[in-house]
Symmetry: C2
């Protein structure tokens, strides 16, 4: 790192230097915008604390997001940052925010929506709460399914649907998706300079959040295939999917997880899902919504219908997701 406090802007500068054809940065607000935005579609935006890269700047572009608003590490972006993004990408069809269920994000997005509405910008909001670690659905945090909502609702917007339709589809993705995470090591926030919790060498933190907040349970090391079973069972039970149902699966590292472990664990998750008789329409393996340098993994499944499948497979061109119709897998 260079100067403390500058890491988010510098990181965003790096992202835009790598993909100048796709995205641009407003350095005053740390907002990443899609280049060449359409004027006749619903604009889709998101935002949240940094430290979850490639989320969300990596998903800005054709077929997904029009703007990603980056707060400081693990800190909500401000109302003014969000309002600025809404003004920048607004179209006559309106601006849909698809964000995660965290208090600061909700307060600031809602406040920005009020300001935007005073400017006669049509706005709508969808909040993801897909993390099954917590029992109470109202309390559940938003995690990986948010990214699938951006992909699927992003395609709906790209097709020219009205904001009520795009919102309905984003909400359908949230309602049909579940995610669970575990950590083998904690992560450290640059500003704090210390670890968020401590783990013995043979312990797994189960039900971990994406900010290094402690999980709901601590378990001993188990083989990868057994961990896959424990995590998938939790998702399958909560989502109530059955043999023959079609799903999209996402298996990812949490920032510091080596490829070898990601790929072995992906194999074990896919084998177990197949054994349950679930049909995997598509899968992603890689890193999508991370927790700085944490070693661990998250698994998410989304029960899909024909509409979600069609929109998932629609073209997209962003730094991370580059899909052509029917491409089934992304590795990041």
């Amino acid at each position: 790192m260079n100067k403390p406090g500058e890491e988010v802007r510098e990181m965003l500068e790096g992202l835009v230097m790598a993909f100048p054809e796709l995205i641009e940065l407003d350095p005053k607000y740390n907002n990443i915008y899609r280049k060449y935005r359409k004027k006749d579609k619903v604009a889709i935006i998101t935002g949240g604390g940094s430290g979850h890269e490639p989320a969300y700047g990596g998903f800005v572009g054709y077929g997904m997001l029009d703007a990603a608003i980056a707060g400081a590490v693990f800190t909500s972006p401000s109302t003014m940052q969000i309002y600025q993004a809404m003004k920048t990408v607004a179209t006559e069809k309106g601006v849909l925010s698809v964000i995660m269920n965290y208090t600061g994000d909700k307060i600031n997005f809602k406040a920005a929506m009020k300001l935007a509405e005073d400017d006669s910008i049509k706005t709508e909001l969808v909040i993801s709460n897909d993390d099954v670690a917590l029992k109470d659905k109202q309390m559940r945090r938003g995690t990986t399914i948010t990214v699938l909502a951006h992909k699927i609702a992003g395609a709906a917007a790209e097709e020219g649907m009205e904001i009520a339709e795009v919102k309905r589809i984003a909400q359908k993705v949230i309602d049909n998706g579940r995610d669970i995470g575990v950590a083998l090591t904690p992560c450290s926030v640059p500003a704090a300079g210390k670890y968020s919790f401590e783990l013995k060498e043979d312990e797994i933190e189960f039900g971990i959040g994406i900010h290094g907040e402690p999980g709901v349970q601590r378990i001993k090391y188990v083989p990868s295939a057994e961990l896959a079973k424990i995590m998938v069972d939790k998702l399958v039970e909560d989502l109530n999917v059955k043999k023959g149902d079609e799903i999209i699966a996402v298996v990812q590292g949490t920032g510091g997880t080596p490829y070898m472990e990601k790929l072995v664990f992906y194999r074990d998750v896919m084998n177990y899902l197949n054994g349950l008789g679930l049909k995997t329409y598509a899968s992603w393996v890689g890193e999508f919504l991370t927790s700085i340098e944490m070693q661990g993994t998250r698994v998410a499944i989304l029960k899909v219908d024909e509409e979600m499948k069609r929109l998932f497979s629609a073209p997209a061109l962003t730094p991370v997701v580059k899909t052509i119709p029917m491409a089934s897998t992304v590795m990041s």
Copy 2:
């Protein structure tokens, strides 16, 4: 992990499950093959120890490799594995091996070439030694430039060039490329279960190899932009590139490096290269040749001419590199 000793095959199974359209696995030999191989082109293969993912299975496919041969973690594949790969992908135009400068790999590839030649298979060999950490060029290890040689020579093979031409081009890439790595943490081999060296919290291991072997120097933490200068200066001096020269740059994490640090460091490297007056034709940022879970970074630069630029920008379709003509950047 599941059973010790099974991690490489399981990891390769995961890779092939993720990209069944592009690659296939011979589980008996742990060889990854390109699907739908052409019969009228030079076959290009590589191999080496595992633990460097996405190398090399992630680079098998159209426009790059026909086979990747995976040894155990940080261990050369056997002569029989390599010979099997040569027999499988051989064409009348021959088989070119583009490997890295490690003793075990060289012995086993040369032995396999002898066996293949007894079967009347035409073979050639190119060995990369791009790591500038060591002064003596004969001793220099192969690192990131090997992947660029696969991309550029892979495109030459795809165009139908004869094996002498493809070899000349691979060698030209090696001769014009340099790489340097640093580590902030060591890595641990699953079979050994211990770290390869120890570092204090504020120390950087400079000139690190890709197997966790200690570097050539230990330095104190410096800001990212200063580290970029130190590393790039080393490359520029050794390669003797000057203002106005065109280059391709690769900035990567070493397996456990968070995105935020990769992107900030990429920004600093690109800014410094620009400041030197070097023209970056294209760049890659992500993870390409890693060291399990090591936190650190590698920087590589390749001085390019018109032939290398044309072949670099030719189409490729592999798990990691998916280029369409003139796409300038890949993130993995």
